[in-house]
């Protein structure tokens, strides 16, 4: 899967850096914990910018190429930042047969962004995901941790409005 790589300059705070340092210190020497470190790093920063990948590679004593390889292999790792409200439309089979693609297209049209993109104001980002396992509620979309089930393309505007102000 091709991933969009961010061109937004990377910033971090000393608190964030300290948190990541602690996890690296705990796991260094055990390569099987590489993914765990990357998952924690993504929790801290929301995505894995190049600078963080390099830091993890140094700290874990593995080649940067390996960190990058893992980051691009797994769908969970993002190379560009997510919006304040990350919208994820389930395009798993159960949702797809219930017209989830139309919902995705409607969101894309209303926000003016495509898959894995973020609006210019940093407010919304849009991704398509493969099955969150709430198939009983198909079609489903999530906005951060809020789940909206049994929706149609017509409900999209109302959902976006909730997060607009």
């Amino acid at each position: 899967m091709l991933k969009k790589i961010s061109t937004i300059p990377f910033k971090d705070t000393p608190e964030q850096a300290a948190k990541l340092d602690a996890v690296i210190a705990e796991c260094t020497g055990d390569n099987s914990k590489l993914m765990h470190v990357m998952q924690v790093a993504q929790e801290i920063y929301g995505y894995l910018p190049f600078e963080i990948q390099a830091k993890i590679a140094d700290g874990m004593n593995v080649p940067l190429e390996k960190v990058y390889g893992v980051a691009t292999f797994y769908a969970q790792f993002a190379l560009s930042p997510k919006g304040e409200y990350a919208i994820s439309v389930c395009l798993g089979t159960a949702c797809y047969v219930k017209a989830a693609q139309e919902i995705f297209d409607e969101l894309s049209a209303q926000l003016g962004i495509g898959a894995d993109e973020c609006t210019a104001d940093g407010k919304f980002s849009l991704t398509a995901c493969r099955c969150i396992g709430a198939c009983g509620l198909a079609p489903v979309l999530t906005v951060n941790d809020d789940v909206y089930g049994k929706i149609t393309a017509k409900d999209v505007k109302g959902i976006l409005d909730k997060y607009m102000n």
Binding site: Q39, Y74, T93, A94
Partner: protein, 595 residues
């Protein structure tokens, strides 16, 4: 002692529709009425009937409330729990008869089910080890460690006829015996909870509803095969399952059911949770092990098989969640009990996740050999909106579809393979007349192209070529020759790919070609999509005799493709039309047709 128990579903489906808030509100209401010591609210795992969530059951009456909203909670507390009058309007309709309230197990949805793997889901509080123990939990492990030799345990599993529930259907006991036969300083047990099939959520429900049964089963497997460490590889997309597993592992450790010298038998076993990061190929057993080791989850060539050289190059037994979920019951009740259910070569039960165009979406567990008709019409409640059944898709991106004329096939491993389908992990997506089968094949190929790890050429390049041909067909540019090419390429990819992903990726195409070839032909010869899905093949037109000339469609059309005078029939300029369908939605006279 509580006089009433309120069970509220805390599975992902019901949690998504606010069941946690219902629990919180109920606890607050009970406290306000001073009932907190009389009524206990318990958050359970999935009940299965996700379509009607959030679900609540009140015992001792056993009354089943469906589609409960937070606003309904005060009424339930006031009327039912305080005054003892059921809130009839919230009862699941099917349970209400003029004479009495039917038990849940008498409803169509539950009547034909047989719950083994799901027996505790929706019954116990998954975050309390004592409830699991009260339902015979850890008895099977105790029996193995204190009364049975590892060889005897393997023999019981072999005799039960249990086969891998992840889709392959390999005999579980045989798999265990391979690992047991290899000598090594360290062996592992791995639980595959990387449920990547879109539309399958049975493993998630077991982990959420009954995590201790997986822990118990893995410890039994460790004892039987000589392993002292286990890993559960679970999708990070299942946060509730991950949290409950971790709670369960901690509780088991505290009680000495994991760790050193379990039950004073001298057997040591410990478990760790590893999070997946969203890669479908990691459901393949060797790829999963590569991923646990911290690498890109690419599969390894076999042999050597994991039983010889698996995780960290040590002998490893890997089973799927649902397979493990059957183990404690098999040990407790005996191999004969398990083997008495199912068909000749497929024993026991199978859990299916019903999704798509079906009334009762949710989770069902039926004896092997149940027909698709029973699952869809008796348990599933049929197809909504009076539409006709077209096909059921099983096995996800690796599987195929079962058309209407094969609905009476008893579902088991061998029957499904015989019709070019596969059991898969148990996702069962129902499609009706409005679904285009070519489009569905394209959907799955789009998925496999995305998820192919890229290691071997037949899969990496082959699936992409398949998708391109399907794209050509659905956009109306296909030829009959393309269909032949498609078929030929399918067989090539199946034969030459390294792992299960590539070997099965063409199945959705082959199976739709087999049963719905006429739809492919319609796309390439007539340039029509019979189900009206493929946009490039659709055209919108206005039926002049039905059109009142209200001008609404012309106003709504985003590209100005509709013209006509007021009170006169309108027309659509097909060269401008972008086929968005807004006109059709807005027309009050059903004058616009799509074909």
């Amino acid at each position: 002692m509580y006089r009433s128990h309120v069970l509220v579903c805390g599975g992902t489906g019901c949690t998504s529709s606010n069941s946690q808030k219902i629990i919180d509100t109920m606890n607050a209401e009970l406290k306000a009425k001073g009932l907190e010591n009389e009524v206990q609210v318990i958050r359970t795992g999935c009940f299965g009937l996700c379509a009607l969530g959030p679900i609540m059951i009140v015992y001792p009456e056993g009354c089943f409330y469906s589609e409960v909203k937070v606003e309904d909670v005060p009424e339930i507390v006031e009327e039912h729990l305080l005054k003892g009058r059921m809130v009839t309007r919230l009862l699941y309709k099917e349970t209400v008869t003029p004479e009495k309230i039917k038990g849940l197990n008498d409803t169509n949805f539950y009547k034909k089910q047989k719950r083994v793997a799901l027996s505790n889901c929706g019954v116990i509080n998954p975050e309390d080890i004592n409830e699991y123990i009260a339902y015979d939990g850890y008895q099977a492990l105790a029996k193995c460690l204190t009364q049975l030799t590892p060889e005897q345990v393997i023999q019981i599993v072999k005799d039960s006829g249990l086969r891998g529930r992840g889709g392959g259907g390999f005999p579980t006991g045989l798999k265990w015996s391979f690992t047991a036969a290899n000598k090594a300083d360290q062996k592992y047990v791995v639980c595959n909870a990387d449920e990547g099939d879109p539309g399958a959520f049975m493993d998630r429900s077991v982990l959420e509803g009954d995590p201790h049964c997986i822990i118990e089963a893995m410890a039994i497997c460790g004892y039987a095969t000589g392993a002292t460490e286990g890993y559960i590889y679970v999708r990070a997309e299942y946060p509730i399952a991950v949290a409950r597993l971790q709670i369960a592992i901690n509780q088991a450790r505290e009680m000495g059911l994991l760790g050193k010298n379990i039950f004073g038998s001298g057997f040591d076993f410990d478990l760790f949770v590893k999070l997946g990061a969203g890669a479908f190929v990691c459901g393949e057993e060797t790829a999963l092990m590569t991923s646990i080791e911290g690498n890109r989850g690419e599969p390894r060539p076999r042999p050597p098989y994991p039983a010889v050289k698996g995780l960290f190059a040590k002998p490893t037994t890997e089973n799927n969640v649902e397979t493990f979920a059957n183990i404690p019951a098999i040990i407790r009740n005996g191999a004969d009990w398990f083997a008495s259910m199912g068909t000749e070569k497929s024993k026991g039960t199978k859990v299916f996740a019903l999704g798509g165009k079906i009334t009762n979406t949710g989770l069902v567990e039926v004896p092997m050999g149940t027909t698709l008709r029973d699952v869809i019409y008796e348990i599933g409640g049929g197809i909504p909106n009076g539409k006709a059944f077209k096909a059921a898709q099983t096995g996800g991106p690796s599987g195929g579809c079962i058309p209407a004329h094969l609905m009476d096939t008893p579902i088991d491993y061998d029957n499904l393979t015989a019709i070019g389908c596969m059991m898969g992990s148990g996702g069962l997506i129902v499609m009706d007349e409005d679904n285009c089968m070519v489009d569905i094949a394209k959907f799955f190929l789009d998925f496999t192209v995305d998820e192919s790890c890229g290691k071997c050429t037949p899969c990496r390049v082959g699936t992409r070529r398949l998708l391109e041909i399907l794209d050509k067909i659905t956009s109306g540019k296909g030829t009959l020759e393309d269909i032949d090419k498609l078929e030929e390429l399918c067989y090539y990819i199946k034969e030459n790919s390294l792992c299960g992903l590539g070997q099965t990726a063409p199945n959705p195409v082959l199976s739709t070609l087999k049963f719905f070839r006429d739809e492919y032909i319609a796309h390439v010869v007539d340039k029509k999509c019979p189900a009206g899905v493929c946009k490039d093949l659709l055209s919108f037109s206005i039926e002049a005799d039905k059109c009142k000339g209200c001008t609404l469609c012309a106003k709504k059309c985003p590209v100005g493709a509709i013209s006509g005078a007021v009170k006169e029939a309108h027309t659509i300029d097909t060269s401008k039309c972008i086929k968005c369908g807004v006109c059709m939605d807005s027309c009050k006279f059903k004058a616009i047709i799509k074909k």
